[in-house]
Symmetry: C2
Subunit: 214 residues, 2 copies
């Protein structure tokens, strides 16, 4: 059976996976890039930007696992773009540029479906109005037997955790206090009882936690 | 100048320093002992119980720093006992037994002062109705030039952080999701800008964070 995985999901000490005030210019709101600085120095991130070099330590090892064996992604609408409500037009094709880094089918959860959007490099965005179970069934059917990644944001990961659909969860705790935004952990009391957890801190100051279904 | 220090302050991934439903039998409410299991195996904890043995690794090194050079403690009333409102009597002398582990003056913050309580082993509880600055002035005067420890609970630590009175903060992040209780980080947006932080995880699964005034 293919697994359902979350990778590189960064939260602050107070549990926020994104800041307040998300917009086109500020995908993570007032958090800015603070939740992801640990990632920018890695070889994995630089390769996604078409750049050479980068660190190949533990941060990179954790980061690079995100794409291995993944056949489809499910993401919340806010990870596709900052629009809310009905689509005003279909011209803007997301935060991810003409060649998005996913290279698989991507299922965007939205109450406002629109036609699929086929991008260069193998990424096709499908816009679906579905609950977690239904979306996962669609993603699995498209994944060709490979694993399905839940790409975020916080509400999407939380909903899939609440529905007990996640097999592997990788969270990166960043030592900052954001104070406001969208929390990952709300409503998930006792979550860790369902998982084996491991913890490792790295010189960048973050802590990687992995949750493996027990 | 003596420092103001916090040690061994454990929080869940969702930032709760104590659970909901504190009572005489459940000082940490529904959290039970889950926030402190990392501590029980240490030589430091066992010595506090009059027991030999225990681990002497990183958890112990972090734990044992709590008493070195401390001349007084300030704690919230909930760390002294579960009573709320006016004291019904003075017979019960706190959660800490006849020989409390503090061995210094201890200033208990309460809106309901009562006479000082002198215990065996050098601990005297003083009950003071004071804001953080006033309480710290009293504790410093009693500390004989040594450092002052802010002992908790979450609200007390938070109030002293908000007043920018803390020089050293040691937080232990425990990989559990409590869901409810009293949060440490609320209202402290941007806190880490004032500190240099270090992070280390240990085989017990917890992560020790230290915050040193920048």
């Amino acid at each position: 059976m293919s697994l359902v995985r979350v990778h590189n999901f960064a939260v602050s000490l107070d549990g926020f996976g994104t800041g307040e005030g998300q917009s086109l210019d500020a995908p993570f709101g007032h958090a800015g890039d603070r939740l992801h600085r640990w990632f920018f120095g890695t070889r994995t991130f630089r390769a996604m930007q078409g750049l050479d070099g980068g660190d190949t330590g533990v941060d990179d090892a954790m980061a690079r696992a995100w794409s291995d064996g993944i056949g489809a992604e499910i993401m919340g609408r806010n990870k596709f773009g900052p629009q809310r409500g009905p689509w005003e037009n279909h011209d803007w094709t997301g935060w991810w540029g003409p060649n998005p880094p996913f290279h698989t089918p991507v299922f965007v959860l939205t109450h406002h479906p629109r036609p699929p959007l086929e991008m260069a490099g193998g990424t096709t965005f499908h816009f679906v109005d579905a609950d977690p179970q239904e979306a996962l069934a669609q993603a699995r059917a498209a994944a060709g037997g490979l694993d399905v990644r839940i790409g975020g944001g916080p509400r999407t990961v939380r909903d899939f955790l609440a529905a007990d659909l996640i097999d592997h969860l990788h969270v990166v705790v960043v030592p900052i206090v954001l104070g406001r935004g969208e929390r990952l952990w709300d409503g998930l009391e006792g979550l860790t009882d369902r998982f084996r957890t491991e913890t490792v801190s790295t010189p960048s100051g973050v802590t990687h936690l992995t949750f493996t279904r027990a």
